[in-house]
Symmetry: C2
Subunit: 184 residues, 2 copies
Amino acid sequence: MAKDRKIDMVILGLLAHEDRTGYDIKKQIDGGIRFFWKGSFGSIYPALAQLEEEGSVRRSGSNENGGREKIVYSITDQGKEVLKAWLRDEKSTNDLKYESIMKIFFGGAEDRKITLQNIDLFQSQIEADLKVLQFYKKNLEKVLDQEDHIYFYLTVMFGIKSYEAYLRWCADSKKILSQRRRGE
Amino acid sequence: MAKDRKIDMVILGLLAHEDRTGYDIKKQIDGGIRFFWKGSFGSIYPALAQLEEEGSVRRSGSNENGGREKIVYSITDQGKEVLKAWLRDEKSTNDLKYESIMKIFFGGAEDRKITLQNIDLFQSQIEADLKVLQFYKKNLEKVLDQEDHIYFYLTVMFGIKSYEAYLRWCADSKKILSQRRRGE
DNA sequence: ATCAGCATGTAAGGCGTTACATGATTCA
DNA sequence: TGAATCATGTAACGCCTTACATGCTGAT
């Protein structure tokens, strides 16, 4: 029941780096952040409004030169404190909802070939994401001497290393399921 | 907005294997399933009631021998079809919410030692969970020749392989952050 | 006797998604 | 001129957690 909205921290974290609009924030989330956290417009805009009300962010400029409004937000000193307090807080929840793995766990209710198919589907998803991460890695290595990029680099490496492990598991699992053909 | 409640599939999947009470289901989730899906009483009991209404599960026995009611559920043929249709459905969502990794991503807003601390905390969590998974693995290897156990084995291996990759990443990351002492 | 575990359930409320509504700008 | 992208926001609704309420059973 206590406020526990982590999207606030994504917003604050991004604004700590650079001023941005809600739309910009969404683009960033869909970029490198989506590998460990997601967010939609329907969660970003209300969060931004509430953070402003609380004094953690402020409008640094509204373009209303004829066209549609465009609201650029900055983080305030109070917002920076909220962000730092969260970073220092030792409590972190790491929740995964892996429907693909759940389907493998309950694979016994269907033919073995359905499970093999589900592993293939999972593998394809991971392979596609891994390519994106490897692209990020290549670009980051050029600017790694700059502080700040190192944190992005570490999280990209987290993604790459875990996805590589997933792919090895996919290969192993398919081998195991194919060899022991009994349950079909 | 369409029904998308995966807890239904956890329940159906478990009941496909054996008749159980809501309480039993919760225990199973807190055991091996929690590594890829979670569930609380507040989600299990209402789901069970609705699955019964829909005809996917049925009460196979209510103990009311003097004491408090104890409702044992079984899966119906219709429930089995629902489960199989889900297994055959190619759409699976794999959502991770890794607050620990997010803290590392935004680590630039604080001292480097805070990030090192956050990596340590993550590492401890993973080490503890890995021990549990290795215990499962040891027990499963004794009964691996039995069909059905193989699916549990595969998901346990998924956990072990990814957690081992996480731990290697923790070690590497701490080394990288300690060596390049500049931002402190 | 008391405490942990077994057992079921409800209520309040937060979080988040999807779909919708609106409209400007840019580029082919 | 039409499509894609930029840009903000709301409404409906589903999902889930936490806390609460209740009471039995078995072991120490």
